[in-house]
Amino acid sequence: MAEIIPIQYKVPLAKPKVGVAGKTGSWRWIKPIVDNNKCVKCFQCEIYCPDNTITVDPEKGATIDYDYCKGCGICAEVCPVKAITMVKEA
């Protein structure tokens, strides 16, 4: 095994971190709103969200983390029951 004697100098090594580009929710101009009465918990929105901001609970439905949601609209388009609507950001 290579012996690792940790380097004492500054090196360009990075570790996993949420929000590397800041709170990207500020990029939105439209915002997805979920109607969890319509939601059939198919998980399509969670699978396809490029920013991984949607979590679907199999009982309760979809929750979106608006700190990071960029408002791309993919979730609204892939939802098979149109449970997500894009509304203008206030």
Partner: protein, 391 residues
Amino acid sequence: MPKVVLTGNYTVALAAKMARVEVVAAYPITPQTSIVEKLAEYIDKGELDAIMIRVESEHSALAATFGAAVAGARAFTATSSHGLLYMHEWVHWVSRARIPVVMAIVTRTIGTPWNIWSSYEDFFGQRDTGWILGFAMDNQEVFDMTIQAFKISEDPRVYLPVLIGLDAFTLSHTTMPVDTPEQEELDKWLGPRRQGYVINGSEPLALGNLAWPEDSEEFFMDLQRGMEEAKKVIREVDESYGKAFGRKYGGLIYRYRCEDAKYHVIAMGAWSGDLMEAVNVLREEGYPIGLIRMRFIRPFPDEEMYEILNGSKGVIVFDRAISFGSLGPLYLDVAANLTKYTHKLPYMRNIIAGVGGVNVTHKDFYELVKTTIDDLEKGVEPPVFTWYHRR
């Protein structure tokens, strides 16, 4: 200790084998080719327990060597001239990642036109990259420096890659006696591979994410600190190797008859041997001349250089390369580094010779040094820059 008679290239291969390299990724180029061939032979015969990646270009050679090194393996490559230029972007990438790697360079003229003989511009092209740059004079030193390169680069105070240069054909294809240590003794002295971090899935690490200017400059300032530390480490390794195996050279500079010298010549590489012959003849004729043979030019031994040259009446720097539009690269380094300690420089002369592989003999050196000293003694200053060319 087994003594063998080997060409410079086979010496490099033997040193890599005895250092127990684990991955070799190399591409053939005259005059380095027999290094790669010998290593392939060692591996296929089972004498070396390593993996060879038969890459499709030199750019991929250093890329793959780096990959193996980042993953934790002692990795090695070798190239020359155009191959070294082809992998140049990788030369920077490796040192700035602080990953220990050793590379042998058989110095060869760069074209246009095609030319396979020795001059040092390929070596000097790596001057600013952050690699430790060493150069050997004979095959014994090729062996010793290649082994030491692993120890230097894997020292936690350094963690920088090391490049060892040797002259095309004069060393690479010329047989000389080489004294080698016992493998078990060498294993004890060198030890297993050490590095500052590894990327092997044990934890999620990202190497090389975009960095903002202030962060980037801090990485690079730390690289400079590593280079400064390397001066100490190179001397320690030279001493310790000397104690273990009976040969030491004096660290970054090999001093030849400098103790009572009033005039100094500076050179690097195989032709230093011819220069030593000229120094011997001149000494017999009463000239107080000493030779400073550069073993390492990065880190540059600035303090030591000043210590030797303080009070010198005249210095000639022989360069086997030219920075077109300026002076010889070794001269530029020597003169500029002296200004860290004094602005009263001794008389300094830069003689370019041997570029393109032209053979320079001890008789040429004798003439050049004698006429320079004779002129200076008469109070005449010869031109600072001369390109000595002889058919």
